[in-house]
Amino acid sequence: MTEKKIEKMSYEEAFSELETIVATLENEQTSLDKSMALFERGQNLSSRCTFLLEEAELKVRQLSEDGLIEADV
């Protein structure tokens, strides 16, 4: 599994991997070591999701002659 740095993940990425991990723990016979590793990564992913949701603020940019600029709205 290629693992992306959790602190760089978008909400969608973190959530979708969290979903996968839960399904793996649910359905597959995994070794204790692997289960614990999955659990730990799952916890970090869920923290990442919660953090992103709490910090979320609509980013607004606008088109201008200079391309995309921060919108003054």
Binding site: S10, Y11, E12, F15, L18, E19, I21, V22, L25, E26, T30, L32, S35, M36, L38, F39, G42, Q43, S46, C49, T50, L52, L53, A56, E57, L58, K59, V60, R61, Q62, L63, G67, L68, A71, V73
Partner: protein
């Protein structure tokens, strides 16, 4: 000229004549459904809620009334001197003997033409298939990039941004500002849409809208060029133009029509951040449940192994061996004792036999042993004894000497 007969009695009363005239007015197909253009004057709005006014032009005046039941639909704020088109039927008001217009709809002059143009264009574009349902693209549930084409200064933008911030602040918004009303609006709207699609090609959805206004204000969204551009957009477009009751051709061409700009922003975010919070919490809980289930399984396995390990332990083996050693020892002991007992019995038997053979015991029965003093030879026969020999006599409790004669 006909001279009226002085002797004829009057055929009509005022009332019956008025009723007769009213009958004529009201049975005339044309007079029952008319659009009349004129200027408003003598406007009066008493507390009854009915509206009284006179429609006039350069040559004539027409008394008019609009009942309260119809005024509710009136979108127009009537003013003295306003040029309007009024719809209704003509009738006679018996009390004053005046014919008048009973209006049920009033609109600004020119709107009728616009509406006809709207219908013509709608029919044409519809026939082309521009509004077909199969061209409608679906709106993504969680859009990451949302384009907005509207006026940078209007209430519509504020409403849309507030709604997006409240429902899905994870999203990124790219605003393509444009004029939304007036003759220059259509090409500017198209340019804004084009720029947006070109500069931000990975948009998930585009909101196109403006706040409420008159039909003229909204007219840019009925412009054929704008409608075609909306229909051709590769990115799904949600239109939110004006109010609930306003329909524009852009609405028909867009992938989803919202009643207002706020509603457009809501439709663009079918899943809200609250639902994401719920889903995240659910999976966080599931994660804990799954790991504790897995750990329980391991605990059970470990417990089970511990029990089995206990059985397999060398200690057990040693205990078992020790036990059999004990058994062996016990058997050994038992056997040993047995043998010793046996030996003792034998020894005792032998002793008894030995005792029986003990010469001392024979002596005890009164016998004596004679030995010659000179050579200690036991005298076992007459031939051994010669006269004069000195012999030693042993009896059970001692010995003494004798001489053979």
């Amino acid at each position: 000229m006909n001279q009226p007969s002085l002797f004829s009695s009057p055929r009509w009363t005022v009332t019956s004549l008025t009723a007769y005239l009213r009958e004529i007015f009201e049975s005339d197909e044309m007079l029952r459904d008319v659009w009349i253009q004129g200027e408003i004057s003598n406007l009066s709005r008493p507390r009854s809620g009915h509206i009284y006014f006179t429609l006039k032009d350069g040559g004539a005046a027409l008394r008019s009334v609009m009942w309260r039941s119809s005024t509710a639909r009136l979108a127009l704020d009537l003013r003295e001197g306003m040029a309007v088109e009024a719809h209704g039927y003509l009738g006679i008001y018996d009390v004053s003997g005046q014919y008048q217009l009973y209006a049920d709809e009033i609109r600004p002059v020119g709107e009728g033409l616009l509406y006809q143009e709207f219908l013509r264009l709608k029919e044409m574009l519809e026939a082309e298939g521009l509004f077909d349902a199969e061209h409608k693209r679906s709106i993504p549930e969680i859009p990451k990039k949302i384009g907005i084409v509207t006026s940078a200064t209007g209430a519509a933008l504020r409403d849309m941004l507030n709604t997006l911030q409240r429902r899905m602040p994870l999203a990124e918004v790219i605003l393509a500002p444009t004029t939304v009303q007036g003759d220059t609006a259509p090409p500017k709207i198209i340019a804004a849409l084009d720029d947006l699609l070109r500069i931000v090609p990975d948009l998930d959805v585009i909101l196109l809208g403006r706040g409420g206004g008159s039909i003229e204000d909204l007219w840019a969204f009925n412009d054929e060029r704008v409608v075609r551009a909306v229909a051709a957009s590769p990115v799904p477009i949600i239109s939110g133009v004006g109010h609930e009751t306003d329909f524009t051709l852009t609405d028909f061409a867009s992938d989803l029509r919202a009643a207002t700009p706020t509603a457009a922003a809501e439709l663009a975010t079918p899943i809200t951040i609250d639902e994401l919070r719920g889903a995240t919490n659910y999976y966080a809980d599931q994660l804990k449940i799954q790991i504790s289930t897995a750990l329980d399984k391991y605990h059970i396995n470990v417990d089970d192994l511990c029990v089995r390990l206990g059985y397999a332990s060398p200690l057990k083996q040693i205990q078992r061996d020790a036990q059999s050693l004990d058994g062996l020892l016990h058997r050994l002991n038992t056997r040993q004792t047995h043998r010793q007992d046996l030996m003792w019995t034998q020894i005792k038997g032998m002793n008894r036999r030995l005792e029986a053979l003990n010469p001392q015991a024979v002596l005890g029965r009164g016998y004596a042993v004679l030995t010659r003093q000179t050579d200690q030879k036991i005298i076992g026969s007459v031939d051994d004894a010669n006269a004069g020999d000195e012999l030693k006599v042993r009896v059970v409790d001692g010995e003494f000497g004798v001489k053979v004669t």
